[in-house]
Subunit: 232 residues, 2 copies
Amino acid sequence: MSPEPPAISVTVDVVLLTLRAGRLCVLVIQRDEEPFAHYWALPGGFVGADEDLDDSARRQLAEETGVTTAGHLEQLYSYGAPGRDPRTRVVSVAYLALLPNLPQPEPGRRGQQARWWPVEDLGSPDGPTLAFDHPRIVADGVERARGKLEYTPMAAAFCEEPFTLADLRRVYEAAWGVSLDPPNFRRKVLSTPDFVLPVGAVSSPRGGGRPAQLYRRGSATALYPPLLRRSV
Amino acid sequence: MSPEPPAISVTVDVVLLTLRAGRLCVLVIQRDEEPFAHYWALPGGFVGADEDLDDSARRQLAEETGVTTAGHLEQLYSYGAPGRDPRTRVVSVAYLALLPNLPQPEPGRRGQQARWWPVEDLGSPDGPTLAFDHPRIVADGVERARGKLEYTPMAAAFCEEPFTLADLRRVYEAAWGVSLDPPNFRRKVLSTPDFVLPVGAVSSPRGGGRPAQLYRRGSATALYPPLLRRSV
DNA sequence: GCAAAAGTGTTGACTGTACACCCATGT
DNA sequence: ACATGGGTGTACAGTCAACACTTTTGC
């Protein structure tokens, strides 16, 4: 290593996804400072002097959204283009978090507005304009999530336990914008060892229909064979 | 963001993989400074004050190994555990580079020893001990490469153009440690649009055998359906 | 009873795998 | 001629997608 480390700040930003009313949504916080005051932005902040990156992501989530992250959390990508923050050089390590639907929009700790936004609305005119390069980060996070649904059991992180196979199926349908055949989906999931574990109880159907078996997340880390998105 | 950015250095490390004699190898450089003097380490260094992360990775490769990277280069993961560099707090953005076999071990620009090491030897007693958390970084890079061979046309980055389908097949066989059926492999690759493009010439066989058609890399970015590693 | 949702069975198309066989070259 | 590796054909088995059908609930 050469001996001239330039001054670069390191932050962590979190793309927190959840499912609300059958739509994939991302949590954004309204900024109260320049630059990009009043724009929506991802929760995040500086990494502490003695803080691991993963711990920092968990802390930012807890501080800015009140989420004590039980769900899935993984590192997404690092963004370091020189001009991405107009104030100073910032390298941001983005994280992807997945959680079951939360009761309410989670007010920010420091009083900022926080809300869920359906990911399809982000590019559209009636949607919000995100600060910095956060549109790209969200897009990357959504794409990562959509892709990893195929070959990991990550979809279960969107479901409150215990959940039904219909709940799990709706995760795929919302994330991919497709509809899946319930019988085939059921067979597929149950044939993957430890994807889900039966809990031995049934749900109470809301408004008709046979009660469904309940499941919780299993210990599988990969899906073989994968649940592929496009058949052609 | 809170207003106390701690002092953190940002570096880029590169896991450069290639195929040599049918084995997957990683390029390592012998350190000439403490800490970890005389240990082998990944090529890397500080990110420049106005340098994008990708550009920095390309620069480190060029400076430390003489590689003007034509091959595949992608961001791998970021490592930021507080104690990972004993001198100071360093967050390292690791990159994964894939190149065809290079003629010789590429001496380092600043005179350091550089050499290829088969990835299987890294954990073993006769293999080298890597500095810092580089064993983990290499392991992550190898795992990423092995995984992405399944669903991207990345394998072709290991082949000098023009290449034969046998060359391409040997990439998979070396990376996965399996042997693949040549006829089936051929059909699989050719049935994926734009994975490889025929060049309209044939190779001169070395030591007997029918000449093989030659191909170059196509424009595909994904493989549908994927070329799955384990059939059961 | 009827609608709605869960769950089972079945079939036909497709895909992957194994392997026999032919082709074109070097020695 | 024979060995070697490239390339084609084929047949069996497993998997996937579509959809008919049964089960169990709310109204």
